[in-house]
């Protein structure tokens, strides 16, 4: 790592203007658990970093009616410790718990997990399933995008020069719905997902049919995906093992994983099916 410039702005406006002025040359630093690793490996030619740690207003939770707003700089470990999140968004807490190691979780932020745009990101996947809205501040003011529109490719987002992700909003899921996050790896901690899956099932009042299904999968394509076909196949259908199996098949058909040092494409494809089915069974939560 050679010499670089370093800023610690005290407010969002300053942070945005430093980032906007220096354009491609500088990067925002949140927890640094992705950024510093890349810099140390010499994978970057950035000339400077803007440490966002002074922007305390981007940290923590705000509850308003049916919506929770999570500051982009909120640490992953803070998600685990939050009782209301455990109550309403258990899948988010499970994903947070599965991320890295205690040391990493104490540094890593929710915003960093999204902006890094890794297809394997755990917390980001659950936010995709919960249909988060992302609040962005930039040189031309603030804007909001849906998480579905946020990713452009692996490591790439719609963020423009000088833009900072400020908050993530999620609405309380429908009553009686249940969200589940499953992660597949070779060990139980310090593991980048070979495959991860987040699902949500909302039953019809009689609890025999599925009113709504959401299925998000990671590590099986260049970006994380919602699998519409699989979701649609479940809508208004009876909750049966074979319905879940069929949905899992549709997920397998929709993905396009790769071979790498961590696993093979064929194994990942099989696992996304197994995990989806298991997650759906778990989300339904009753004998089938």
């Amino acid at each position: 790592m050679s010499d670089i410039n370093y800023w610690e702005p005290e407010n969002l406006t300053d942070a945005v203007s430093i980032l906007a002025d220096r354009a491609d040359q500088v990067r925002a630093l949140a927890g640094g658990t992705d950024l510093l690793v890349k810099m140390k490996k010499g994978l970057t030619n950035w000339k400077g970093i803007v440490n966002l740690k002074g922007l305390t207003e981007l940290k923590g939770f705000i509850y308003e009616g049916q919506t929770i707003s999570i500051g982009a700089l909120t640490q992953i470990s803070a998600l685990i410790d939050n009782p209301l999140l455990s109550l309403h968004f258990p899948a988010l807490v499970d994903a947070a718990r599965s991320l890295g190691t205690p040391q990493v979780r104490n540094l890593a932020t929710v915003g960093g997990n999204l902006c890094n745009a890794s297809p394997a990101a755990d917390v980001a996947l659950v936010l995709l399933m919960y249909e988060a809205r992302l609040l962005i501040m930039g040189p031309n003011g603030s804007r909001q995008v849906s998480i579905q529109e946020f990713y452009v490719g692996p490591g790439q987002t719609v963020l423009q020069q000088g833009e900072i992700l400020t908050a993530i909003e999620i609405d309380l899921p429908p009553l009686n719905s249940k969200g589940v996050f499953f992660k597949h790896g070779k060990r139980k901690s310090h593991e980048i997902a070979l495959v991860n899956v987040a699902v949500l099932l909302t039953p019809h009042p009689g609890r025999k049919q599925i009113a709504q299904a959401r299925i998000a999968v990671g590590s099986v394509a260049s970006t994380q995906l919602r699998i519409k076909d699989a979701e649609d196949s479940l809508t208004n259908s009876l909750a049966t093992l074979s319905a879940f199996e069929q949905a899992a098949e549709l997920v397998k058909e929709a993905v396009n994983p790769i071979d790498d040092v961590r696993s093979t494409a064929s194994y990942r494809k099989q696992m996304v099916g197994v995990l989806t089915r298991r997650a759906l069974v778990e989300a339904w939560g009753e004998e089938l």
Partner: protein, 765 residues
């Protein structure tokens, strides 16, 4: 026998400094004017170096010295830490910096600069022109016709270790069944918490050089480094501060000669500290071995012939490999009795990082293969696997073929009995493929593996150890020992042995926590599970000598013959004849004071330098229960019962810690760990802890250790060994449990989810 300090789980002598973070490791040290060293590494697995231009690097401000092959002594050497001995086969094939790259990471040049950033920048300014040669990444390619030569060895084979006992052909002819299977075990890394390769060298004005290094063997590193540099052994002083784990990785020279050469050229101290990635790239790991085992057996389970042919992938330099071929043969032939045995081990060069020592030294590889096949044999013969092992293992009173010496004590039957009971062998083994939760996709099984191991390396190697006990004026004792404790707790056990023998409280013994070759006598270091047995014997004998002098002095003071005196609790007591009189005693403090300042005027000191009296083998039986997820291929180890015959456990907590820690490595070997190379380019694919999968604390199963203390006569207070043996049988036990769960025999490690799932799908086709 009842002891007062031996057998107690006293806290380790280095516990406080380590848990509080105040222990100073080599990498924490700083000297005035200290420079930072860095090594330029080959990006190619096999390449001739056509030219190197260091001029730009030398011009960079802050760079003090840049070295290449041109600047290194033209002395071929071998880094493996062996004393000159019958079993040390030392092929000398390396230079401090190479003139031909033989693996990705091979050291081409070295720099020392005022700080790390400058040193790194200097590396980038060195211009090297390479002529790339084919990368031979496995033994098949390396041994193929017309393969380029990595060194001057025909077909890249540089060692053949044959053993013949009896008549192997007659043995097979005599058999009712003959089994022949080929097994493969991968390259795995020791992954000590402190990355391997940390040393700091400081030259003085008298032509000597002091090297602080994270090593397992200060004295041998001294002589090997001296040889590589063309110095006299006495010109080097090695200091070994606390070491953050070793597991064999520091069993020899790592990077000390590079640090020393840089420091000598520039006349300033140089710190050379490898990163985790460099520890993967450029330091020694466990040998991948391809083993074919052929076994002839009678219907009743008697072995008529046992044969092993193995190809040991030693990587780019010889280091330990031809010597390791000896123990590989030894482990195999000594495990089970058979009148006819044949072994052929071949050492093969490939373009991967050189392999060396890793806890078990070839034994985990051999035991995985042998114990896998034994289970298959037991199944075919319809004999309980436990019975087959009990029938064929060597027992106390018989000659152990590893050493050629009579086995002193054997706790194996008890290991089997207590381990089987704890895991509920009879109940659980009967239910093959036991189903459990999750839509019937998970299947459980139990399995076991057996092993024997050494308590030193005699007679293969000289096992010299030296210890000195000096009794201070206040009755406390210094134990001066080349203490190569690398985290296993040997320094504590040795202190307990000294306290027990002297008859003083444990707290009153102070061992030299830092080893210093200018201070302590010659000791061959921490290896072969030898510290407690071999080192312990010399410590005990040094203490006995000091105690004898204490008694003689006490006899004078108490006017009682030595034969009527005993030492206990820091005092010498006269065994009083008539019980009416109160017991007479005098404290060791008083005795020592009298020794120093009375009419004799000499301090009580006991010194020995000697080889241990033997090499008693230890036994273990490990039992595991696994659950195989047949939809994902994930094998989860639910429970491990590790029954180990260790002789007397000097410190049971330390012994249990050694076994539990080793099991973590054993499970990794079985399921998750494999250091991989791109087979075409030879580039390592996972030289980091994200992609090289060691198990974390939450992955660990419940472990039950059972200590079977079959004490031996020659060990200090009956101790044998435990350092390495905890992982030797683990992978075999897991493979056998997986077989019990799903009926599939894995002959290749690790049993990754991908491989297990593929095998399940193949089976169901």
């Amino acid at each position: 026998m009842s002891y007062s300090v031996v057998g107690q789980s006293v806290p380790r002598v280095d516990a406080r400094e380590k848990v509080s973070g105040s222990a100073l490791y080599t990498g924490d040290m700083m000297l005035p004017h200290m420079l930072i060293g860095k090594v330029l590494r080959s990006p190619f697995a096999h390449a001739k170096i056509i030219s190197i231009d260091t001029s730009k690097a030398k011009e960079l401000p802050g760079v003090k010295v840049v070295l290449t092959y041109e600047d290194t002594p033209k002395i071929l050497w071998n880094s493996a830490g062996f004393p000159p001995s019958p079993g040390a086969i030392l092929v000398e094939d390396q230079y401090i910096l190479t003139n031909k790259a033989r693996y990705v990471g091979d050291g081409i040049a070295a720099v020392a600069a005022v700080d790390e950033a400058t040193a790194v920048q200097a590396l980038e300014l060195i211009e090297v022109e390479y002529e790339v040669l084919p990368a031979l990444m496995n033994i098949e390619r390396a041994m193929s016709d017309g393969a380029v030569l990595i060194h001057e060895a025909e077909k890249n084979i540089y060692g053949h270790t044959p053993v013949v006992i009896g008549d192997i052909d007659a043995g097979f002819a005599d058999a009712d069944f003959v089994f022949e299977d080929t097994y493969y075990v991968p390259k795995v890394n020791q992954v000590s918490l402190e990355p391997c390769g940390v040393s700091m060298a400081a030259p003085d004005k008298d032509g000597r050089i002091t090297i602080w290094t994270s090593t397992q063997m200060p004295h041998l590193v001294r002589s090997i480094t001296a040889h590589a540099l063309g110095l006299k052994t006495g010109q080097i002083r090695i200091i070994k501060p606390p070491v953050g784990g070793a597991f064999g990785s520091r069993l020899g020279v790592v990077n000390e000669p590079i640090a020393a050469l840089l420091a000598m050229k520039v006349g300033q101290p140089v710190m050379l500290k490898y990163t985790r990635e460099e520890a993967f790239l450029a330091t020694e790991s466990r040998h991948p071995i391809t083993m074919t085992i052929k076994t002839g057996v009678k219907k009743d389970g008697t072995f008529t012939a046992r044969q092993l042919t193995s190809y040991i992938d030693g990587g780019a330099y010889a280091t330990h490999t031809p010597s390791l071929a000896g123990p590989v043969a030894g482990w195999f032939l000594a495990m089970y009795k058979s009148p006819n045995i044949k072994v052929d081990n071949y050492s093969v060069y490939t373009n991967s990082t050189q392999c060396g020592a890793f806890r078990g030294y070839g034994n985990p590889q051999v035991v995985f293969a042998v114990e896998s096949q034994i289970d298959d044999i037991a199944e075919r013969l319809g004999i309980d696997p436990l019975e087959l092992r009990l029938k064929n293992h060597p027992c106390a009173g018989e000659v152990w073929l590893w050493s050629g010496w009579v086995i002193e004590s054997c706790g194996f039957e008890e290991c089997i009995a207590s381990g089987a009971k704890a895991i509920e062998w009879t109940k659980k083994r009967s239910k093959i493929g036991n189903e459990s939760s999750h839509q019937g996709s998970k299947k459980r099984g139990v399995g076991m593996g057996y092993m024997m191991h050494v308590s030193g390396a005699r007679p293969m190697l000289h096992e010299t150890s030296a210890a000195m006990i000096k009794i201070n004026e206040d009755g406390t004792a210094n134990l001066i020992y080349s203490n190569s404790d690398c985290g296993q707790g040997a320094g504590t056990s040795l202190s307990q042995i000294a306290a027990e023998e002297l008859g003083i409280p444990f707290e009153d013994v102070m061992i030299t926590k830092t080893a210093d070759t200018d201070v302590a006598g010659f000791d061959i270091g921490s290896h072969a599970s030898r510290q407690t047995y071999s080192g312990g014997n010399s410590v005990k004998n040094a203490a006995a000598k000091a105690k004898q002098k204490i008694l003689e002095m006490a006899a004078e003071m108490m006017e009682t013959p030595v034969s009527e005196l005993v030492v206990k609790g820091g005092r010498v007591w006269a065994s009083n004849k008539s019980s009416e009189e109160p017991a007479k005693s005098v404290s060791i403090a008083e005795i020592s004071h009298r020794a120093h300042f009375g009419s004799h005027g000499n301090q009580i000191i006991g010194v020995v330098s000697e080889e241990p009296p033997g090499n008693p083998p230890v036994y273990a039986a490990q039992f595991v229960e696994v659950e195989v997820d047949t939809e994902t291929g994930i094998v989860e180890v639910l429970r491990v019962v590790a029954a180990h015959d260790v002789g007397t456990a000097i410190n049971p907590a330390i012994v249990e810690g050694q076994i539990e820690g080793a099991i973590q490595q054993g499970i990794g070997y079985a399921l998750t760990e494999e250091y991989c190379y791109d087979q075409e380019s030879g580039k390592p694919l996972n030289p980091n802890l994200s992609d090289y999968k060691i198990l974390t604390s939450v992955d660990m199963p419940q472990i039950e250790t059972i200590l079977v203390e079959a004490a031996c006569d020659t060990g200090p207070f009956g101790a044998k060994s435990v350092g390495e043996s905890g992982l030797v049988a683990t992978a075999a036990a897991i493979a056998n449990a997986v077989y019990n769960a799903i009926g599939i025999r894995f002959k290749e490690l690790p049993m990754t989810p991908e491989r297990v799932l593929a095998a399940l799908q193949n089976k169901n086709k």
